[in-house]
Symmetry: C2
Subunit: 479 residues, 2 copies
């Protein structure tokens, strides 16, 4: 892969269409990323034209499972099902651990229980649980009955933990040794061909007789120590032990905070039940970051791969809430019909105050939601941060009050109108700073996710305050 360019198309065919990066970077990236647009097109065409399974197998044969997943995501539902059907047992089942959830569910729906059981048996235990947890109850039970009893016990324990918890993410393939062993004993154990060990692992979990983790032994340390050395003297003591019911967002925080690569997962009694690896946590971090971003943008779930109908439905409810708040803002405007009919300039200028408040508030809100997500904003510094944001809002409010006051004065040759918009501007930006912090803090305090509903509350506040103060001041001063 590294020395051979895998696609022979002229370098500017795709990048010329849309050069997101300088061409040489794009080339380097395309060389490392195993999927290109030509392969996607060729597969789509081959399925559409009903070409023989042999041809399809050739097309996807060299693809890494992760790239095959990307390919399936880019096909239509019919093409996807056609391709998977044509590949049959030649399909690399690992692809199911990489697929976007929406697309995976779409495929899983057309598979038989027997096929699903084969896939579950083939996947690593954490990926198997990830697949099982999204199946409808009845199908899940049927698949569980079809897998070997030993695996079933693990899957059932894992599924007994709440969704999005460490218990769901862990895998049960762990290498453990007793805490009284020496380096020599450990090496002999690992080199014993009779013993089955996972394919790849980076640490050995050192356990007490009660099967509680008491240390982590890095393979590099093991390799470098003398045979007589006690394992307990070179292991990392007091490793971070993740409770099975810990929320995945907290798990991700701990991995990031302490640069962890692997961490043992324990049940309530302290017994080892599995291990979490950084690659699972990378996926979680990705999901959580995506969730926060999408929620702030008013999208409830990643609808990129959904069809038109689902996407429309997903977005409708948010827009309906927004319509409600927009109507509330209009009711505020309607209070001042009299003023508006006397001075049309008010109608021209009023959206500016509301818009500036909304934008200033969104800035504050975005920073606050992010700080809450990464544990930087806590009860201890909440007051300090609210006060800071009010100050920032006040100062920027004053600056924009001056700018907009002068603009309005000159535009409508009316200094009093300038003063009115200046007063409304500074008030609304102050309120925006206050609401931009208090709203997410309040939502978090109620145990809810501040990314979800913050935006709509905020814009309601800044719209209502913006229109009310501007039109209200105008009614008093101008008329």
């Amino acid at each position: 892969m590294s020395d051979v360019k895998q696609d022979e198309r002229p370098p500017d065919e795709t990048s010329g269409d849309m050069p997101a990066k300088p061409p040489e970077d794009q080339d380097a990236f395309d060389e490392l990323y195993g999927l290109d647009d030509e392969t996607v097109d060729a597969c789509a065409r081959a399925v559409d034209e009903g070409e023989p399974a042999e041809r399809l197998r050739e097309l996807v044969d060299d693809l890494h499972a992760a790239d095959l997943a990307d390919l399936l995501e880019r096909l239509t539902h019919d093409q996807r099902v056609g391709l998977v059907g044509a590949l049959g047992e030649d399909l690399d089942y690992e692809v199911f651990s990489y697929l976007d959830y929406g697309v995976r569910d779409d495929l899983v729906d057309v598979l038989t229980v027997k096929q699903l059981a084969a896939i579950v048996a083939d996947l690593e235990s954490d990926d198997a649980v990830d697949l099982l947890e999204d199946l409808p109850e009845e199908r899940q039970q049927a698949v569980l009955r079809a897998v070997p009893a030993a695996d079933r016990a693990f899957y059932e324990r894992s599924l007994s933990y709440p969704e999005e918890s460490a218990g769901r993410l862990m895998r049960h393939e762990v290498v453990t040794i007793p805490n009284f062993w020496t380096v020599g004993q450990t090496i002999d154990y690992m080199r014993d061909e009779e013993i089955e060990l996972p394919d790849d692992f980076y640490n050995i979990v050192v356990v007490s007789p009660a099967y509680r983790p008491v240390g982590l032994l890095q393979l590099s340390k093991l390799l470098r120590a003398r045979r007589v050395v006690a394992v307990s003297s070179i292991m990392e003591e007091e490793p971070k032990l993740i409770p099975g019911d810990m929320d995945q967002e907290d798990v991700a925080f701990l991995f990031r905070q302490y640069g962890l690569v692997e961490a043992p997962v324990v049940e309530e009694s302290g017994r080892l039940i599995g291990v979490l690896t950084v690659d699972d946590v990378v996926d979680v971090m990705d999901e959580e970051a995506e969730e926060d971003m999408l929620k702030l943008g008013g999208v409830s779930a990643d609808d990129f791969f959904s069809d038109v109908f689902s996407t429309t439905r997903l977005r409708f409810s948010w827009l309906l809430v927004n319509l409600g708040t927009a109507v509330v803002a209009s009711l505020v405007i309607a209070l001042f019909e009299d003023a508006l009919s006397k001075a049309v300039a008010l109608a021209v200028l009023m959206p500016i105050v509301a818009s500036m408040g909304g934008n200033a508030g969104t800035q504050t809100l975005t920073v606050a939601v992010r700080a809450l997500a990464v544990n930087e904003l806590t009860a201890a510094n909440a007051f300090k941060i609210v006060w800071k944001e009010v100050l920032v809002g006040g100062i920027n409010g004053l600056l924009f009050a001056i700018i907009m006051g002068v603009v309005a004065w000159i535009w409508f040759a009316n200094p009093v109108l300038g003063a009115v918009i200046a007063g409304a501007m500074v008030t609304n930006l102050l309120i925006a700073g206050l609401a931009g912090t208090l709203i997410p803090l309040g939502i978090e305090r109620m145990g809810q996710d501040p990314a979800v509903a913050s935006t709509v509350f905020l814009t309601t506040v800044t719209d209502v305050v913006g229109f009310f103060v501007f039109l209200g001041l105008a009614s008093i001063v101008l008329l």
Copy 2:
């Protein structure tokens, strides 16, 4: 750490203030997260009251470097400098690899060149480069002159790569072996006490005589293989080789896509120059997700830890751009002063059309920006996605046209006004779907970051179209 509760405060003191999570989860998390609000408060007080250095050392003695970094972030500038001064050489220099950039720069400003050189010498090479790259040119040169020549050569090569590239992130402590060795030779080499190896590593890079990486050898594979086996037969062949000048966002994508833990970094000739580990990439992913989210919210950089003045300045320019677009929207309204003076209802209803367009467009935009960032939206499917978004906008536009048309009709007892707002609504939501995809695609095509300026272009479009179509239709139909 795992068996001992490290803080003795009653469990509900903090969580009672702001229970973001169920209390039992919060407890489990607090036990694993090494910093609590009490320590922060105690440190802040101790510094303020000028308590002896001894007392401060005691307070922070047990903290992990990552937690000490969090502690420093939560103190004020004066407290921070006071604490670092009091700790002196007892300060765990690793803290500099965990600090938020703003806070780190704040501290670095008060350190001497000699102190900085000691810190750089103490850090791992990748963290040292991360610290060096943010120093002002002159100080950077002075520090480089003060570190050992061998390290200096690496730092200088690393700094010769562009900012935010793989070359800046890599570390140069790599374990390499020639591709013709056996497992036995490799194990003997690793167990040779004369040879200095990095503290922790997970893979050995197998290199050709020209020092080009030809494989990665997992330690677990090495441990389990027989001594006579050739390394080349158990190594992972054709590893992903990251070019030194690859952008960190692409690096993060590749690590995530292929679940990488370590990857060799090569210069243009293909020679190995360093290695990237997943923990560095986790930080990058975090930064990139944060950047996209903050940029969409109109915040240019993470200003959470900045002072009031810096934060105000950082946000001012974005608000100024927004003021410009708001004024443009007002100019559109001003075109219809005549209509507005005749029917005040228009002033009451017009923000609704603009607001719905802005929100629908933001939904589309958020999904598109995210899809661009994770390489799901490409030249190959751009047309399909634009078409889908126009359809979604059109369908939701029709639904909200009906709802709002009826509301306006009843509210103002005027069916024609209802028809006008319905027409404007469907037009603006169609345009919002179109603009919400075309704007980020266009910005990406120009080689710019679509997260930065998309929002402001989008709201300009939806405001202008919303006001123009609504007031224009009204002028034609109603007056």
